[in-house]
């Protein structure tokens, strides 16, 4: 199709269509020109203080000066290399594990999931006889905290969600009942109340002297809710699996756990992957709610930075910066999931 034919068909098919196209184009023009001017052309990029921002555009100096705080929160500056190392470790291990030709990939993944989170926490927290300076979790913040909450809540929520989904389809009535109650309870209440609940009740129900860290409470609260949603995503995959698969495995004499591990889950999780990715995206977005218990993730730090008297009126700059990071991360994840889904459908010849 030539360009002109495409234009005629998709933009100017009828007089009404042409009118709609022109009106839309005008609106887009009126919005995008001032936006580009504010964001890029008239913006101030270099400088060190508010006085350097003289143009009518955005003052990106604010973001430049605050950048490391947006990334690390109040994490002590001389110790920030530890955060960098942990980040590099995660990236390296993830990259290595997603390389298809890696020998013993399955066991390596299993080992990494068990070891890496512990190593990361020890490095970030310090103390505990490691010789590293102790950095309390209340000093953690910014994007690093957002990623921490997402990864750790996700690491609890995914296995728990899979178990709950299996439990919901179990033939043991008590297991089924407990799973249904757990899932429906956490899905029925707002996440913000769960974070409140975790931060108020966890210290109360533990024996005296046994303190649950503030950040750990938020992770547990988030993880329980996301596990309930994750269970429903996995259930969709389980339901899509033909009954014959399980019957064939039973006929071969395999036990329950072996059937789940070798036959059911590999196929069901592949089907459920798009839905599960959506839950991970939801988790990433919902980590912002920890703001309510005064834990400062990326959005919280951006919000707190607005209170700085030296930088009054930087609301838009802070929001645009934080919003862009959230948008890019979520969009990239959903695109990855979509691409993968398409490739799988292709591979199955559908």
């Amino acid at each position: 199709m030539t360009a002109i034919a495409w234009l005629r068909q998709r933009l100017f098919a009828t007089p009404l269509d042409a009118a709609i196209t022109l009106v839309c184009a005008y609106i887009v023009w009126r919005i995008s020109v001032p936006l580009v001017h504010w964001l890029l052309l008239d913006a101030t990029w270099h400088g060190t203080s508010r006085d350097d921002c003289k143009g009518s555009g955005a003052c990106w100096v604010f973001v430049r000066v605050r950048f490391s705080q947006f990334m690390y929160g109040q994490y002590p500056v001389p110790e920030r290399w530890r955060v960098d190392i942990v980040g590099a470790l995660w990236v390296l291990v993830t990259a290595a594990l997603s390389w298809p030709a890696l020998p013993h990939r399955r066991s390596a993944t299993f080992a990494a999931v068990l070891v890496l989170p512990i190593v990361a926490i020890v490095l970030l927290h310090g103390g505990w006889g490691t010789g590293l300076r102790l950095v309390e979790t209340r000093e953690w913040g910014g994007l690093m905290l957002t990623l921490f909450l997402t990864i750790y809540a996700g690491l609890i929520a995914i296995p728990l969600g899979i178990l709950l989904a299996l439990g919901r389809r179990s033939c043991l009535p008590l297991v089924r009942f407990a799973s249904v109650v757990f899932i429906e309870f956490w899905r029925g209440v707002p996440i913000i109340t769960v974070i409140f609940l975790a931060s108020l009740l966890l210290p109360l129900i533990m024996p005296t002297g046994f303190d649950v860290d503030r950040l750990a409470r938020a992770v547990i609260g988030l993880a329980f809710v996301i596990a309930a949603y994750m269970a429903e995503a996995v259930r969709g995959g389980l339901q899509a699996l033909p009954e014959g698969q399980i019957e064939a495995a039973q006929a071969l004499g395999l036990g329950y756990w072996r059937i789940q591990r070798m036959i059911v889950l590999p196929q069901a999780l592949r089907i459920a992957l798009p839905a599960m990715t959506n839950e991970v995206i939801a988790l990433f977005k919902n980590t912002t709610l920890v703001l309510i218990v005064s834990i400062f993730d990326l959005l919280g730090i951006a919000q707190a930075a607005l209170a700085d008297p030296a930088w009054v009126g930087m609301n838009m700059e802070a929001y645009v910066f934080a919003g862009t990071i959230y948008w890019l991360s979520c969009f990239a994840l959903s695109q990855w999931s979509r691409r993968r889904e398409r490739r799988l459908q292709h591979a199955h010849g559908r």
């Binding site: 998709r10 033939c171 899905r187 707002p190 109340t193 109360l204 005296t208 919902n286 959005l299 948008w327």
Partner: protein
């Protein structure tokens, strides 16, 4: 020990062991909690609900005053939650259906713009939008003296949105009564028309009449009712607007964020529902000689709606639950006034958390019961 090899016996034993562990864990938690509460000197029980609250709620429709009980405070919070949810649901549905349909438009620019909207709102946290509207947009609004006026009756400034209120409700009540009558008449007419068509094949322009009885006439009735009523229109006196009713900025920000955010998800549900109607159905309807309006009404909508309704209901439920984020900007809904203010003043966290969770669970349960009922009733009969 042979009976241990019996599968049924083993199943029962496993479950019994699980139940024992669960009960033991629960007992452990409850014991710790009661010990900790005794040590901290926290009272228990629900008597606190009848104590005076002493908490100021700047925005309420219930006539609540700080000298009222905590129960009245909770009720105010519930009303505020329902108020912002109801208004947001209406607007989110309108935007969502529009954007979802536009995304399927043949016009490339229109469908792309709709797609950009959906991808924009779905990939950013809701709390971000709430803070953005509250601190970014509403804080940048002009002072009352330079308010943005809407037709000279409503005024938007950084203190909120001032809207007129009716002096008495008689005219509007009559209009509402007339509308109920009109809808009932339309319903009876539709039944009669369908029966006649089944009997004799003669067609009746039910939809055309419906636009008049359920669209034009109600608007006219409302306009007449409003015109016959005296209105308390906000006017600028000194530095602020007096009279009418002020929707506080917290309400406006929460409403704007909730409705635009949820609209993105509703748009996806609508698009998915319409795409789920197979092209063959539409081709077949066209081959039968149906007009395009009838194809939409008789073929597309009846098959798309059962697909759209379940995700739509769960979006409504999400919206109600998400209205709790109003606590972040101190909009006085359930979480802010009860889990926040009342908890701080009484310290009875367990009771307050239990009541709050129970309220949301009841709401969720009611909505999902309705959804199951609806699904059972409207399931497509396939042969």
């Amino acid at each position: 020990m042979k009976f241990l090899r019996d599968r049924k016996v083993r199943d029962i034993l496993w479950q019994a062991a699980g139940a024992v562990v669960l009960v033991a864990l629960l007992w452990f938690f409850v014991r710790n909690a009661s010990e900790n509460m005794v040590r901290a000197g926290i009272a228990s029980g629900f008597q606190f609900l009848w104590r005076d609250s002493g908490i100021e709620v700047p925005f309420n429709l219930t006539g609540y005053r700080p000298s009222d009980t905590i129960l009245a405070l909770l009720w105010t919070g519930i009303v505020n939650t329902l108020l912002v949810s109801a208004v947001s649901i209406v607007v989110a549905t309108a935007i969502g259906f529009t954007v979802g349909l536009l995304r399927l438009s043949r016009n490339w620019l229109l469908s792309t713009l709709a797609g950009v909207y959906v991808e924009f709102v779905r990939n950013i946290p809701l709390l971000f939008f709430i803070l953005f509207w509250y601190f970014g947009v509403l804080a940048a609004l002009p002072t009352p003296r330079e308010s943005l006026g809407f037709f000279g009756v409503a005024f938007l400034n950084r203190r909120g949105l001032s809207i007129p209120t009716p002096d008495d409700l008689t005219g509007l009540r009559l209009a509402l009564l007339a509308i109920v009558g009109l809808v009932a008449a339309q319903w009876a007419l539709a039944r009669w028309a369908r029966a006649r068509q089944a009997r004799s094949g003669r067609d009746f322009p039910t939809w055309l009449v419906g636009f008049v009885t359920c669209g034009a006439l109600p608007v006219l009735a409302l306009a007449l009712g409003a015109a016959a009523t005296g209105w308390d229109v906000p006017t600028l006196r000194g530095f602020n607007y007096r009279g009418g009713f002020v929707l506080v900025p917290e309400f406006v920000a929460l409403f704007a964020a909730l409705s635009t955010y949820t609209a993105g998800f509703i748009a996806e549900a609508v698009r998915g529902g319409i795409l789920s109607v197979r092209q063959g159905q539409i081709d077949a309807a066209r081959a039968l000689g149906l007009t395009s309006g009838r194809i939409v009404r008789l073929v597309v909508i009846p098959q798309a709606m059962p697909v759209i309704i379940p995700p739509l209901t769960s979006q409504y439920l999400n919206l109600i639950k998400n209205s709790s984020l109003g606590a972040a900007i101190a909009y006085p809904e359930i979480v802010a006034v009860f889990m926040g203010s009342a908890l701080v003043s009484t310290g009875q966290s367990i009771e307050i958390i239990a009541i709050t969770l129970a309220i949301y669970l009841t709401l969720s349960l009611a909505v999902s019961l309705f959804m199951n009922w609806y699904n059972a009733r409207h399931r497509l009969v396939t042969r």
